[in-house]
Structures are given as C-alpha cells and as structure tokens.
Amino acid sequence: MTWVGQRVARKEDLPLVTGTGLYVPDLKLTGTLEVAFVRSPHAHARITALDTAEALQAEGVVCVLTGPEIRGKVRPMVLDQEAAPPGLETAEPEIHPATIEILADGEVRHVGQAVAAVVADSRYRAEDAAELVRVDYEELPAAIDPQKRDNPIVFENVPGNVQARYRIRVGDADAALAGAAHRLALNVRSQRVTAAPMETRGVLASTVGEETNVWSSTQIPWWVRNAIAGSLGIPQRLVRVQIPHMGGGFGLKVNVYPEEVLITYLSRLLQRPVRWVEDRVEHLIASGHARDQLHHVEAAFEDDGRITAVRDRFVLDSGVACPYPLSSAYNVASHFRSMYAIPHFAIDGECVLTHKMFNLPYRGAGRPEAAFVMDRVMNAVAQELGLDPADVIRRNLIPDEAQPYSMRMPYRDGHEVVYDARGFPAAFERLLELIGYEEHRRSPRPGRGIGLGTYVEGTGVGPFESGQLQLDSEGRVVVYSGCAPHGQGLETTMSQVVADAFGLTPEAVVFKAGDTALMPFGAGTFASRSVVTAGAAIIESSNRLLNRIKAIAGELMEMAPEDLEVGEGMVRARGVPTRGVSLKEVFRASSPGPGARLPAGMDAGTTETFYWVPPTVTWGFGVVGAVVQVDPETGVVKVEKLVMLHDCGRVINPLIVEGQVEGGLLQGVGATLYEEVVYDAAGQPRATTFLDYLLPTSAEVPEIVQESLEGAPSERNPLGVKGVGESGPIAPPAAIANAIIDALRPLNVQLNELPLTPPKVLAAIEQARA
C-alpha cells in the first residue's frame, strides 16, 4: 500500500490533545528570570529622560536594560534578506534594508516599541517594576498617512520614507487605456490586519559558558540564529535555536524580532535562563502587522467584458519597516492578473515608512491584496456593462491551449512567471455548478447574493530547504529537515512520503525539524513552501539513502546492489524474498570501527543529506464562490457558504489539505468582514485586545465545500506537489464583496474598502441610492 494520498491521522497529535505539549510558556528551567518590557506610548518622540533607579530597587529585580546601555553591544538589525535577485532588473527594484532596533535609543518610532527591559525573578514582579521606570518624552510630529509626501523622515537611510519600490510594464497599458472602448478606475484598499496566532510570541534563552540555547516561537529558527549572532557579534555556532510546540504563526513569526536578540543577550549577560512571553496586548501592538495597501487601479475593456489593460499604483504602509518587501509588495504584481489573459499590464508599488508597527507578510503575502483588486475590477466591469459577472470572468480566463502561459514578467526569484497549471475554465465551470450559480441567476432570493473570486499562487519558493536521512539502531528511518512546522502536520506528511520510499509505515519514520543543531543550513516554514521544498530535499536524500542501504546490504549478502530491494524494514534479493538482511543489520554494518561491513571506499554511517534549490516556484490556482445574505437595513452580512476548488498538485494527505483550506478560508472571512488594526490620526493603535480585534468564532463559520482539482502533478519538483497553506484566505475578500454587491442588486453598489463592516455596507447602499 502507498501512504501518499491517504487520509492519515496526524502522528503529532497525542501531546497536543492531552495538554502535555510544551510551548515556550510551558518550558521551565531552574532559576529562570522573567522579562517585562517598558514600551513607548507615543508614535514618535524623543526620549528626554530615562530613569531606572527606582525599578532597580524593586523586589526581585535583577537588572534593567535600556537602549543607551546596550549601545555598541547589541547592534540594531539591518535586514536586507530580500535583496533583489538577478532576473528582476526589469522591475527596477529599489530596496533599502529595513532597520529594526532592539531597544529604542534616544527616539521612539512607534507605539509599542521596547524602551527598557526589566528582568526579575517572576513575571508579576517584572511587570510591577516596569511601572517604576520613568521615561520622559518630547513628542515629535509623526508620519501616519503614507500617502502624504511631507511626512517626517522615519529613518535617515530611507530617503522620502520610500523603503522599497518597483515597477512592471508588460505590453503598453498606457496606450491600451488611451484607446479603449471602455475604462474604469477604482480605489481599492486592503486594511491593516494581524495574523493573531493563538499563541503569542515567546522566547526562552539559557546560557552555559559561551553557548546559548534559545527556544523561540518562530517560523525561521536558522534565520533567527543568524540574526542573533550578527546582532551580538558572536559566531553562529554559539547560538542554537529550536522551536518547541508552537501555537501558529501565519507569517507573523517569519521575522526576527528584537526580543529574540535581547533575551539571548540577557541570558549571556546574566548567565541565567531568561524568558519573555508576550501578552496579547503587546502582541497586537508589537508583533508584525500585515497588508495595509491602498490601490488605485484603472482597467480598459471591450464591449464583451474582455479586459485589455490594467494599470495599478499602490502604496503599502510599511510602518517602521517592511522586512520582506518582495513578498509583501512584489507578490502583488506577480499574482495580480490571476487566471486571466490580460495583455497589457502596468504596476507601480511602493513600501512607505510610517510611525507604526512593522508590516510583515501574512498568509497569502500580497496575493489576497492583489486578488481583491483584480476580482473587484472583474465585477465592476460586469456592473458597468450590465453583464453577468461569471461571463466576464469566463471571457478573460486563460484557455488550456495557451498553457503553459507566460505572464511576461519575472517572479520575485528572478525567473519568468510561467504557469505550470491548466484547467482554469473547467475549474470555473465546476465552481458555478457546485454553488448553484445558474439557478441563483434565474431566481434570486431577496438579500441573497453570490460572488466569485479567483487566484493563482506561486508556491515552494527558495532559497532552498534541507533534508537529511539516516537509519537508527532500531532500523527506523530518521528524517531531519530545516523547515519549522507548527501545525501544518509535516511530521505526518513527510513520514508518509518516506514510508512509501522505504516500504515502511509512517510510524516507523521519525521526523525532526526546527532545530539549528540538526543541520548547518535550514530555512523555515512559511510561504506555502515546506511540502514542496523540504519534501523535495527529503525525497532526494531518501534516494541516496536507499542506494547506500543497498550497497551495504549487497556487501553483507554478497550480491550486487541492483539486485536488491528495500521494504518492510528489510533488504531482500529481488525475486528471492527469503534472502535478506534487516535495516537494523545494515545500521550495524555501517558503524565505524571493527564491526563495519562497508563497501570499499564508503564512509561509515548512514547519513545522507540533500539541499533542494527549487528551479522556480510551482503554480497552484483556485476559484472561490461565496453565498451571502445581506440585511440592507442594518448592513449586516452573513456568509452562508463558501465553495473552493483548488489545485495543489499531488495531494499527500487530503485530511490535512482540507484542514489548511478550511482554516485559511475562515481567516479570509475574518479579514473581509471583521478584522482591522486601527491606528488613529496620532498613531495610537485602537485595537489592543480581542474585544476590538475581532476574530471569527464558530458562530461565523459558513458551510464550506471544497474540491481538490486532481490536476497534473507539478513537474517542478520530484514529489509533484504544490503548496496549499496560504491558498484559503486569498480569494474570499473579492468573492464576499462581489456577493454582497450581487445581493444588493439592482443597486449598483461599490465595495472596495476592507473590512466590510455594517456601517461601510450601509454607506455604500446610501451612496448607490443617491
């Protein structure tokens, strides 16, 4: 039997369901000190006085650190992890590194920035003492609206506050717009949101001598290690970063944070275990936010709804930093035209600094923003021409005979965007059938609407991922990888893959990841990439290990390796199943020293390693339909049903893929209807608890119908897979907005600003009536 493709229940669940899992807040080391931060109450201010004397006297306090005290010892992080790769020259990218300060030194640049760290023997005492730290501020004018061009400068190294910019020109959009039969223009906004994983951030560091062990709730342990070492000016080998159990990330934990550096520093300074666990209020103001893009888009189209040109200009509000300007902003360009053949395309994107928390990629990373603009345009074209929105989409879809279709522009890895997917029209027709579209058009019910959305998704991005395999003394296959799973079920899916390669059960495979001590190089789990990239690395190292096993067994059995096969923990002679040796015996024979029975020239051990560098991304796609019920008197929207069809190549575990899609779709509902990180005009965050930042609950779950399109397996990786983790939240904003517009027909409502709260829906109704 093969395990790939089966609905295998997860191996990783038992500790999690019994409450015996260990997340950072659950780890306890003898003598651990706890940290509380003093954070800036101002968006932009000069620190005129800073007095820690009283706090230092407080009971249980061990130390208080401020920016001036760590000057020269802990360097700010200057992140240029997304320098433009070769191939991206035509986009004319201009990227300034993002600066992330560890503790404010002289100036604070956003509400929530850490100003001082108070270390005490308990969190309660640390928090009490933090209130005794006296900070005087002189408020300064703040950059709040990124559209304004006369804002105060946020960082000197970023002229005009434009931290990153790029432009793409495909064909001649200007000429096409000038000569178009019809044109429209919209302002479309994706609001500032936050990923809000249920576990906040947290770091524990413990130092023995020169070496520090760091447990952090992060998606990128290797990068955290490297950044800590860089900031502290110490060799990477002195820092080991691992993730214990982790309560979600969704992109928010794909950044290196000041606290990770500082807690490590404190542990080295004090030679004690030191821990900080973020509370939810801190999380909402001092963990990365996302999206916050305002687009001005124009489209040219024909009488039948075919779009000939799109021209878009957008500004992404970076806050004090946009550490991943290509992911957050350039992804918008490379996913903008979705499943559509639009010959002329121009886009100009800018990431502009303001005095707010920094802006990170959040599940979908630029794609939900792009999809919202594109499919709002599609729907607006239909509204403008009085056509059925489904017809407009249909007429713009890339036909199968045009695949593999080039979008005639580079992806963010520098390679040309060429879709390796097909079946767009068939998927779209199937969506209409599943959602009962024709029936709804024929006899619409009052207040009920159906809206449609589409997306494409480049998945499995580089730079690389690692896989290492070896046997253990029990004859099990032990797999190490540089990914960092935290809910995606990789232990199970990767065990399924390896189980098939070795003819074992998933239970006989041991999977470990997310620990920099495992391997010298690793990247992490983000960007719908782990199954693709770690999977490829693991399958390649599986092949190498199989060859090694056969070579050693050949030595033991005095047979040629080609005549052997591996399965069920044994190596057997092909066609003579009674002749064989066990993997345990192979392990023993691989040992160094006198017991070794290795072929001439082979090193001892069974370890095989492979680093997979993807040729470029592999493209998934999907379509989403939303059914909503709208109350035109109150503006309240209820999403009744979401239907999604998605292509993620070969499916390893349908149960897990369904779970990813369901969770992603509901995050999409949240971002469409409820969630917003609000800053007021003075730069004060207004959503600082879950009472103000509204997450979808079980009461908001629509009926969800999904189908995995059994498309051709990807040819861009050996497993034939495509990523799926981010797919869910991409299309719902457009689908739901279009559904509300449909529900309110014959009013010609426009809904272009997320979230679509009842007051906004009411205002749109009023505007359409006027």
Binding site: P197, M198, H486, T689, S698
Partner: protein, 135 residues
Amino acid sequence: MTLADFLRGELGLTGTHLGCEHGVCGACTVLIDGASARSCLTLAVQAAGHEVTTIEGLGTPENPHPLMRAFSEMHGLQCGFCTPGFIVSAFEYLREHPQPNREEMRRDLSGNICRCTGYVKIFASIERAAELMSS
C-alpha cells in the same frame, strides 16, 4: 494570582493555555465544580474549596479521553494551542447535549477561538467523540 497562573506555575499543569488573558479566547477554559470557567479571569483563591478540572484531568497520553482521540482522528487541531480549552468546553457541551448538532455547537462553542482549523473539523471531532462515547 490568577487561577491560570496558579495551575500552570505552582502546579505545573501547563495544559491550560493562555491566549489572551482578557477573557475572550477560551484557551484557558477549565471546569469549576463541573461548569466551564475562564481561568485567566478567575483568581486562584476563588477556587479554594471547589473542584477544578483541567485538560489533564480529562485524560492522559496513556488513557486519552474519547474527545482527545476524536480530535486527532478527525483532524480537529492544527497547532493545538486552542485544543485543551476546546476539549474542556466540548466536554461540558457533550455532557449537556449527548447528541450534538451543528447549529447548537456553532453557538455554544463560540467562546473558544481557534485560528487554525476554521472550526469545521472541530465540529466533526465533537460529533465523532459523541459516537465513541455512546458506543
């Protein structure tokens, strides 16, 4: 000191999680004399003289509660952070409604937030647990 901090810190029962510490997310749900309560908003002293049941009291890795088995079987969890609180709430729900139905569950369990699963498989897990418990 809150009940949550007491359970987690003094007693080392870290299965009770803290997702918000302001009474919204339900990750810290425990039973006090059988009724669900938010341990982040309850003071430890308020629990004096009462029976407190945490996730650890419902089952163990050696002997998991049917809800625990069902959550795994039906993929009712991803990161698992909300899971103990959810299972405690679901335990109370199933006690009151041995035959779960989705409309009720949607309403009665809306005090527990899960950011990963979209709740669909949590509902399925609870239905499966009801089956396991009745057989």
